[in-house]
Symmetry: C2
Subunit: 720 residues, 2 copies
Amino acid sequence: MVKELDSIMKPKSIAVIGASTKEHTIGSDIMKRLQEYKFAGKIYPVNPKGGIIEGLQAYTNVLEIPGDVDLAIIVVNAKFVLDTIDQCNEKGIKGLCIITAGFKETGAEGAAAEKALLEKVRAYGMRCVGPNCLGVVNTDPAIRMDGCFAESLPERGNIGFVSQSGALGGGILNILKDLNLGFAQFISIGNQADVNAETAIEYWEDDKDVEQILLYMESIQNPANFRKLASRITKKKPILALKAGRSAAGASAASSHTGSLAGADKAANALLQQSGVIREYSLKNLFATAKVFANCPIPKGDRVAIITNSGGPGIMATDAVCEYGMQMAKISDATKEKLRSFLPSAASVKNPIDMIASAPIEHYKQTLETVIADENVDMIMVIYLPFLGLKDIDVARAVMEIKAQYPQKPVVGVFMTKNEFFTKLSDMEVNMPFFMYAEEAADGFNRLNQQRLWMEQPEGKIPCYDVDRETVKQIIKKSIAEGRDQLTTLESIDVLQAYGIRACKYGLATNEEEVAQLGNSIGYPVVMKMTSKTTSHKTDVGGVRINIQSEEQLRAEYRDLIEKLTEKGLLEGLEGVIIQEMVKGNREMVCGIATDPQYGPMMMFGLGGVFVEALKDVTFRIAPLTDLDAKSMIKSVKAYKLLQGARGTTPAQMEQIEETLLRLSQLVNDFKFIDELDINPLLISEKTGEGIAVDGRIKVRMEEAKQALECACAGCTCCG
Amino acid sequence: MVKELDSIMKPKSIAVIGASTKEHTIGSDIMKRLQEYKFAGKIYPVNPKGGIIEGLQAYTNVLEIPGDVDLAIIVVNAKFVLDTIDQCNEKGIKGLCIITAGFKETGAEGAAAEKALLEKVRAYGMRCVGPNCLGVVNTDPAIRMDGCFAESLPERGNIGFVSQSGALGGGILNILKDLNLGFAQFISIGNQADVNAETAIEYWEDDKDVEQILLYMESIQNPANFRKLASRITKKKPILALKAGRSAAGASAASSHTGSLAGADKAANALLQQSGVIREYSLKNLFATAKVFANCPIPKGDRVAIITNSGGPGIMATDAVCEYGMQMAKISDATKEKLRSFLPSAASVKNPIDMIASAPIEHYKQTLETVIADENVDMIMVIYLPFLGLKDIDVARAVMEIKAQYPQKPVVGVFMTKNEFFTKLSDMEVNMPFFMYAEEAADGFNRLNQQRLWMEQPEGKIPCYDVDRETVKQIIKKSIAEGRDQLTTLESIDVLQAYGIRACKYGLATNEEEVAQLGNSIGYPVVMKMTSKTTSHKTDVGGVRINIQSEEQLRAEYRDLIEKLTEKGLLEGLEGVIIQEMVKGNREMVCGIATDPQYGPMMMFGLGGVFVEALKDVTFRIAPLTDLDAKSMIKSVKAYKLLQGARGTTPAQMEQIEETLLRLSQLVNDFKFIDELDINPLLISEKTGEGIAVDGRIKVRMEEAKQALECACAGCTCCG
């Protein structure tokens, strides 16, 4: 499918429709860029006036072009675009890059035009980048296509870059060269009518030229599809994403806790995390990470060695490495001995290895060579501060020389020197990244390590439990028949139980025998609560009895209740008593489901009770959950320590809690119209460590639920 | 006092003792730097061999110098340093800068030499920078002293910089020019035998040349003095600090929660925060912030306007501004109207103001001029992305031209363009900071706003409460007399009560009348707990009765207890019953004191109970606390929301909790040998909102306590 993008990204011939001789127009710039960058195929300018454009014969119409055309870059006025697409089809062109703006971004009319555009593209079996984009680039020497109107010519590199912001794409092209970064391919997706980030990452999945993928996104078009693709592709190559528009998310009006805590950005964050995408929060960090992935292999572990010629920066580097939770490598005795053999006595051969200010280039080489060979070391940071006598660029060359002999370990240079050093570097071939500050290098190591951990992690599985869907259907049907979009607590508990979720056991009894039977089947201790049409303040009349330990006590309490109510003349309204399992425990968790308008159902887990809103110790994942998602949710909240059994409490049954989350995920997957679901608290039993739903709340989207359950209501067989 | 530093920082004449003609030695480099930088006073090279050094007549001894000498820069071998100081004294020199290494940093022998050195300096009434340092710089045109052996010559600027790492100081000198940053003065304090960071900041307090102070520290010598000085000076000018060695702090072995949560870095962090010092965690951020303070006034508020020629970066900038908790300025209608009058219709005049890609330089000028005049705007970020046709440096010039007319509002440029733009800038006079990325600008605004808030905040006061010191003294005396460094719970509660801290009321009663009396004086509900020599499992024998509501019930429960114990034959061991106030509430806070070996007593406050370790929702401050410290502690924990009365709970009495912290602070200030103190929980009463100490633990440092209380034990009158 995505192979079709070849017509756009690897064309043998390009028609520039709207090519122009007028300076500083896109129609002129695109022609210039294509030629300056020496496109390997044929370029056909198209302009109704004909003539010569950038030294080439222009055709008045695409149909006049003598040879085959793979890609049409369209820069004509928006009103001519649809006709142009028809002509392209007639000419047999399969790839379009529509730079022209004036579509969806301008309002309803533009959106209609864009819809018509997409219909044509689909009908003609074409693929299309844009409209409203900056263009496309492929730096492959066999292609050499700069079909972009950015200021700079692109540099060759290993990055596949997708930008949703055209202007930003242009800005980026300018900056990257300074950072020693280059593209393999670049796609400015613009309004992403057809080709979007998902198309691009799938297209690049097995492209050896593209070793890492960078995304600038303001939205994710099809979250489920993105997740499916990205979680697969990130196992092969890193995807780094900058997702803008975080703050715009704002307050969600949802009424449950889950709703009020989850914002659109939390959903995006969960999605990216579950997909193994490395999320960056600024362009600066995006590029710094790309610089590291461009020149470093994935390390074998997280043990970092630091080589420095100055104490202070060594300390700062150690701080940064430790703050990321990575390990300072324990240098082996053999390595230490070897280092001592040539370093001065004032040097420190413990990590950080301080060669002291007098270190000549030779010491940089010998020290790196010695440390890189140490099996206890996975990554190395080489710090250089300028002292009189040494030239920074010479030190860098020496370090790169050694690095070249050991391609399997990441080495990053921290050169606290003048800007011109980095300018010099940008004109050189480098085999490792260089930064000005230690923190940037530690940042990079952290990303390498994150990618390592993700790639080492097996693929998650979405389990399928044997559940009682029919009961859930009936409960919800009843509720919506009564006009309630919100189930009662007991209905909610019943739904949970139908899906095998451990909820507080309960039952209603109306006489002593029933009471005793229920107590025995639930198991002691139990709580007895009266339910009455006339008495609302149950506690005041002794209607709530807790911690009942035996059948004998239960019978006695029941008789006592009846007696007291009789005395007070309140027996009449009594409907019965609820006998409920009494769960003891002081660890209250919360789990639930909220629906993000864009990303769909999202799971929440964390510390519950009164703490939910204040402490916000909760985590989110997009449903459906894999087993690994559930595990990681539980581990990623601070309250995990409480679950582990801090201070002599019973450790929680982690697998049972995981299963609770997975069963919830299955529930919302089966009943997609569930809008909100809260289990608060999910009490951790002090006795068994089980997570038990003590309270539940479920809200459905009425109209959707009605539709989905309608046929069943009529008794037809089309509902499974 | 610090005025004496003038001899070092503003000398009229300098003797370089150890000046040399040998290339690439410090004795040669220092001479070169002094001359290249055109020192405004007299330079006297001193070398036993005499001769001509850097074109100047060298003296074989400092005593031979004909004129007066203010400053001696000493670079002779460590073994000659002490004698050299004697000679300097004989010559009447009052200022020393000892660059020579080989002192404390080399071990015990060096430390002894350094001690001797300091004794001489003190005895002679001199001041001394170093030893083991890089030197000193003053760029004042009337002084022009580069007494430093760094690679670059210093640039003039408004920064006073103190570096504890010599090498780092050198590295920094190299980098700063590229960042358009310059020094007023620079002191490499080295081993800080005499002059340290505290001396420097005090010296610069009223120096108009020094408009901001930068500190690179690995340790703080006298935390209390640093706090006193810094909290005063930061009200006049910003102090930015990079404190390295955070991770080295490691695990403290203290046994209480306070101890296990507090690390040395927490103490440093608290100290810097209480002193109004802006703490940075990387050199990169330190310099970025300095760049902002170098060219921006302190704003009047936190309302940020963003002007951009591209949507994407505008969104990212908005994200960053909001994430710092600053406000996006609400552009006034008049401003919007004015903007609409010249911007194209596709432009957005809402904040962020998107002038779109076609914006010419004139639009940058007009838009900035319009927005800067808007009273709803406190700070402005101007974003530029390169599009064909405009020159970045021209845009920068135009923006600076407008900025020059409005010096009262901070304006920061974000120019996502090539590195050479910044290289060009570094050779220009600028009146505002320029960054590559929006996040850096937002970062800077956040720091400006932090400084504004600090400067607007009144000075905190340390209150003095009327307390019962004598009782505390007696309780501790008794405990140490019994060989216990840890007080019992009841003793601890008594200590707290003696200091007016609201603790759970209790008393011991041995008969029914006493029981009733106690109950009445404490107030109901109460808890009754038996205390017995023979029965340890009180609960099993019904020895704990909770929620007793009245005297009648209390008497009944007591009689019932005696009856039950008699039946069981357990009456014999009974010592009595503790009648204790029953506090109801489910908000458990923690507060306490831990002692940091370097920073002294440190206060802790936060969420208590079983959550302390897992959630670590706690904050620290160095004692003694000011009223503002106490307020800020309470507000800075997430559990503050719980205290405010989330979900219909009673709001906590904030002032009473503040007072609890302040009284604790007074307690530890009065009894400095208190090593650890924990109130966990400080239960928030559901009824009154008071914070009530339900459990307490106090541990003292035995030897120190003995000494401090000794005389009183002997009945002498010297203890107050």
